[in-house]
Symmetry: C2
Subunit: 127 residues, 2 copies
DNA sequence: CTTAGTATAGTAATAGTTATCAATAAGCTT
DNA sequence: AAGCTTATTGATAACTATTACTATACTAAG
């Protein structure tokens, strides 16, 4: 994997995020510094970075894929109203049960909470 | 919600499934009995049935949405190779931790296991 | 410097899903 | 059972997110 200005900037932009932007959000931010970059380049590099284990691709509910600067396993909260995705503090331990049937190969798990985020929950109260 | 031949057949087809077909799989099966049905009708009815809580829409990793005849909460196993999605037997209890921050409204959780299904795991052994 | 291999921008193509709309069918109400 | 109202349908267009293609530009090694 060759290092290019585009790739470094994409990674840098993603790593300033506490949340989990979509490819086009990253694209728009990167364009501020590199206006000629193409959306395809953003997709390609996000893909490469995630298959190299540097970032994490979230194939989570809702339309678009999202990208997480932190590749370590942790769970997410997805807002059904504004579609934002937040990390959940994972100081607590989850003991996931073993799957009974031993012939599958289990590589990992995804735990997702969904509902309304703090902001949207507050807005809904007003109605 | 008005009852139509199309809707009943879509539900019936889905309920004969142990797995979790995509909209176009349902479409193809329904077409055997109702050749003039349109794909839009299938999407529309799957959407209605799921927002009525009769079935469940799975917005799970991988390209397409899948539909589950069983709306009760249970977890899924997704095969990274053949993309199939199976129910996991849920006789075991999972105690999911409470989310610390009380200002979110948590409506539910999704727990997904991924890896290689029995069949694909066996094939991979051969290589 | 040449060359071979990558990466890029720009654009076209694809896949999955949703929206539009005139025609039809359901399900009251009498 | 006939008429009325409104939801639903099939057909198709539109849309969104993502991937593929292609000619050009860059990089590192010999």
């Amino acid at each position: 994997m060759r290092n290019t200005e585009q790739k470094s900037l994409i990674l840098e932009v993603l790593q300033t995020h506490k949340d989990h932007p979509t490819a086009d959000q990253v694209y728009n931010e990167v364009r501020e510094k590199l206006p000629k970059i193409s959306l395809g380049t953003v997709y390609r590099n996000l893909e490469k970075l995630s298959s190299a284990g540097i970032i994490m691709k979230l194939e989570i509910g809702g339309g678009q894929k999202r990208f997480d600067p932190n590749p370590m396993g942790h769970s997410h909260f997805r807002c059904l109203s504004c579609s934002s995705v937040e990390d959940l503090p994972h100081d607590f331990k989850i003991d996931l049960p073993e799957i009974p049937d031993g012939n599958r190969v289990v590589l990992g798990t995804t735990l997702e909470y969904y509902g309304y985020c703090e902001e949207c929950a507050a807005t809904r109260q007003l109605h």
